[in-house]
């Protein structure tokens, strides 16, 4: 066990955990940030996606010891008031069914739009294909990414 100091959503956190504990479980079990979801534990489904210095990262395979001083952003910190362009677009197009995968989907979409505010269809497809949605909301996700792009300054 060791003490880890983490910068998450602009706040400082501390966790006393084993060094190999994935960031996902530190967030969920130790810090009470449960918006980041567990789906597979092997970086295949994307439900656990957070930003690490702005880069979409699979927190289920990222040991807490590897986080270091990186800035972590989770769905809880994506926007102050739940009104990030992707959150607005996801709501306007009523994307969720069960909703379990959507936090991860939005984190990846938000990172994509930050880099490229006008992604092509092919870029959206290439990026979003790394996520699974068991309910099959992919069409609305596609449309929501495009709508969010129009809202991104």
């Amino acid at each position: 066990m060791a003490q880890y100091k983490l910068k998450i959503n602009g706040r400082d956190y501390q966790a006393d955990v084993a060094s190999d504990t994935p960031l996902l479980w530190v967030l969920r079990d130790h810090l009470g940030l449960v918006g980041t979801k567990y789906g597979c534990g092997i970086a295949q489904c994307g439900a656990c996606t957070v930003h690490l210095n702005g880069e979409p990262t699979r927190s289920c395979v990222l040991p807490v010891s590897a986080v270091g001083g990186a800035k972590v952003t989770t769905i809880e910190g994506l926007s102050e008031n739940g009104d990030h362009p992707v959150q607005q677009a996801w709501d306007e197009l009523d994307v969720p069914q069960c909703g379990y995968c959507q936090a991860g989907q939005m984190m990846t979409a938000a990172a994509l739009l930050k880099k490229n505010s006008k992604p092509s269809d092919a870029e959206i497809e290439a990026t979003m294909s790394s996520h699974l949605c068991r309910c099959g909301t992919y069409h609305r996700i596609r449309d929501a990414v495009k709508l969010a792009a129009t809202k991104t300054k």
Partner: protein, 708 residues
């Protein structure tokens, strides 16, 4: 819904003022409204409250698994209440069998079950508010109307808000003869209404079972038998117990539970358990299943007749042409993205359960039985679910959490890893079908025979579905293999593959008869209409309507160069869905680029939610038809996570899905399942046209190179 039932209300002013309405539909009880207090045990089926601030709280009793019931139910109440939707707050109700009926997510049955009672609930409250306003104004209630949370006296234009009227309305005897709105006059129903939990879902609030946390709660993972047919022989937990954060390792039934302070710690400790398993039943392989299917298919003595019309033997003897084909699919895991999990706290005075379940009442009853206590001693709080697909109809995960909590005498949340979830499932069973059709010299289908061979499924057919009733000589029978592999309902049970097989086979028959697939189906329906054979348990006109609508919208009869269309129509869970898949060939491979769906679920409650269900059902149906495959080696599932097991992804969906609702004003039926069954058949029929290859088994990727 039986119209003979007496619908009545109970009301009370509750602490702080306002109106609580409860609804009771028991036929046998007295019809007089009974005053009750909010604290008393209420014999309600559902209830809504109106605060003096005008906020209407509608409790949604049914489990939300992504089917949108938590939005659809309140929407129906709100429509008849004429409330401003912005002033409606929706709350998930816990399991309460004294207030509610059928708190179940399954069989696409919630909407048809509750449609009328929810409307009566809203309409009755509306009338009470109108009566209260009329009394205050001293005018006849008939001169008043309601709109957007206001009661309006039409002649004078006077208005009062629901909030202002709530307290007085609570004193009014609930009318028992309220008039429901005309279907054509709905203001909310049929519109696109966003999910009531959207904001919380999209900001990562703790909504799901796996998010539940209670101070002092332990975390646990169970090591269950790794293969179907194994049982626990011995455990050495010395190393696991010595791992950091571990508080208990306990063994019960065939499980070894590792309990500790965090998910990761119990997962790591579980890995160092030393367990010996021993054989308790046959350790089956997928190859065994293939052999068993063929043996049972060939053995007439093992078959149970499900439906027999006319003389099938004679029909085949006299046939000008016989078409025969066999279809097979594998086992499938449900794979809701939120793996199984459940919280239980067994105390002296009762059991508290919290978690994702499609059947909270069954969870309560099974847990009560386990401890030999009264069901009332078990409470169940419903959480939102990260998918269900039938897996959460079972109660195994609630039972094991409860049993574990009683053994360690502490509150505990049991979490399954994805590997646990996929490897220890209650699967969609593999099944094999054999179809035979006899055609006369004019291409009329004069004989039809279907045999289904199921795994732990006594009847793997739906013997009264289309084309039963359309064929003068028909025989449907089934055989079953008893396997140690556990099976259960998987979204659209039976029909999720039967529809594919049947609709593919009908295209094979149409081809042999030299007929267009749509024309062939319509001709069969004409026979059911004009010369029916035996019982017909589907609506011929509604089936015809969705066929015609799908054909029209897809341009079925207009040939387009390089575009290949495949047709399918299926009736399941009381809804009718026809689909056309549009396939083009790119780089020599078939690509499904579009799916058209024509859907008759009666009245559409929430257009956005309904479309989401239809599109999702199509993507789900297509994904599993193309990729889904769970195989077994020595009783052990060979795919246990999303690396080896393939779920459809973003880049593999048809570019477009076009959904058309018949929206005929008939009382609504469910949509959680009915869009899925027709999809595989439409796709396979289109792929056949594009490539000449007939796909008779799933998954398609095992047989052809297909582009998503």
């Amino acid at each position: 819904m039986q119209t003979s039932r007496r619908d009545f209300l109970k009301s009370t002013a509750f602490a702080g003022g306002g109106l609580i309405l409860g609804f009771n539909w028991f036929e046998s009880v007295a019809s007089k409204p009974v005053a009750v207090t909010a604290a008393a045990p209420l014999n309600f089926n559902a209830y809504l409250s109106i605060g003096m601030d005008g906020i209407v709280t509608i409790f949604s009793p049914n489990p939300e698994i992504g089917q949108g019931i938590k939005t659809a139910f309140p929407l129906i109440v709100a429509e008849e209440l004429d409330v401003d939707w912005k002033k409606v707050k929706v709350e998930q109700a816990p399991l309460d069998t004294t207030r509610f009926e059928r708190q179940t997510a399954g069989g696409s049955g919630a909407i048809p079950h509750s449609w009328k009672r929810l409307r009566v609930a809203g309409a009755t409250a509306r009338q009470m508010l109108i009566n209260a306003a009329a009394k205050r104004w001293g005018v006849p209630a008939a001169e008043c109307t309601a709109s957007q949370s206001m009661v309006i006296h039409t002649p004078s234009g006077k208005k009062l808000s629901y909030g202002e009227l709530a307290q007085e309305a609570a004193q009014i005897a609930p009318p028992t003869d309220v008039k429901l709105k005309e279907v054509g006059s709905f203001k909310l129903i049929g519109k696109s209404i966003k999910g009531v939990d959207n904001q919380e879902v999209l900001t990562g609030k703790p909504l799901f079972g796996i998010d539940f946390y209670r101070e002092g709660m332990r975390f646990a993972m169970l090591q269950r038998p790794p293969a179907f047919g194994l049982k626990l022989k011995s455990v050495d937990a010395t190393a696991a117990k010595a791992m950091p954060g571990i508080t208990d390792v306990v063994t019960f039934k065939n499980n070894v539970a590792v309990v500790g302070k965090s998910t990761w710690e119990v997962k790591k400790a579980r890995e160092v358990l030393k367990i010996e398993w021993e054989k308790a039943a046959e350790l089956e392989n997928t190859a065994d299943h293939d052999r068993i299917f063929k043996e049972l298919m060939a053995d007439n003595s093992k078959a149970t007749v499900r439906r027999k019309d006319g003389d099938v033997e004679a029909a085949f003897k006299n046939a000008a042409k016989v078409v025969e084909a066999e279809y097979q699919c594998p086992f499938l895991p449900h794979n809701p993205l939120e793996p199984m999990n459940f919280f239980a706290h067994v105390r002296e005075d009762g059991v508290e359960l919290v978690g994702p379940t499609q059947t909270p009442q069954a969870a309560r009853n099974d847990v009560a039985k386990l401890f030999n206590i009264a069901p009332e001693k078990v409470s169940v709080q419903l959480t939102r679910m990260g998918g269900g697909f039938g897996r959460r109809l079972r109660t195994d995960f609630a039972l094991e959490a409860a049993e574990l909590s009683s053994l360690i005498k502490a509150p505990v949340k049991v979490i399954w890893t994805r590997e646990d979830d996929m490897g220890g499932g209650i699967y969609r069973p593999a099944v094999r079908y054999r179809f035979k059709a006899a055609l006369d010299k004019d291409g009329n289908m004069i004989g039809y025979a279907l045999r289904g061979v199921g795994m732990n499924t006594a009847n793997s057919t739906r013997e009264d579905n289309f084309p039963s009733g359309c064929v003068p000589n028909l025989l449907i029978d089934t055989a079953e293999h008893k396997s140690p592999i556990t099976v259960g309902a998987w979204r659209a049970p039976i029909t999720n593959f039967l529809a594919f097989a049947e609709q593919s086979f009908l295209d094979e028959v149409a081809l042999a008869a030299g007929k267009d697939p749509v024309t062939f189906r319509l001709e069969l329906l004409d026979k059911a209409k004009n010369q029916p054979t035996g019982a017909i348990k589907y609506n011929i006109d509604r089936t015809r309507k969705v066929i015609e609508l799908a054909a029209e919208k897809s341009g079925w009869f207009k040939k387009r160069k390089g575009v290949h269309l495949g047709f399918s129509v299926y009736y399941s869970h009381a809804s009718y869905v026809a689909q056309v898949a549009e396939v083009v060939v790119q780089k020599g491979k078939p690509v499904i680029q579009k799916v058209y769906a024509a859907v008759d679920c009666g009245v559409v409650i929430n257009e956005s939610g309904a479309k989401n269900q239809v599109v999702g059902g199509i993507v789900d149906g297509l994904g599993h038809a193309m990729y889904g495959n769970l195989t077994f080696k020595n009783g052990e599932p060979e795919q246990r996570n999303f690396g080896a097991y393939r779920l459809i992804r973003f880049n593999e969906i048809p570019a477009d899905v076009e959904v058309h609702f018949v929206n005929n004003g008939i009382d609504p039926t469910g949509l959680g399942e009915p869009a899925l069954p027709p999809t595989g058949g439409a796709a396979a029929n289109a792929i056949f046209k594009a490539t000449g290859q007939r796909l008779r088994n799933q998954p398609f990727v095992e047989q052809t190179d297909i582009l998503g």
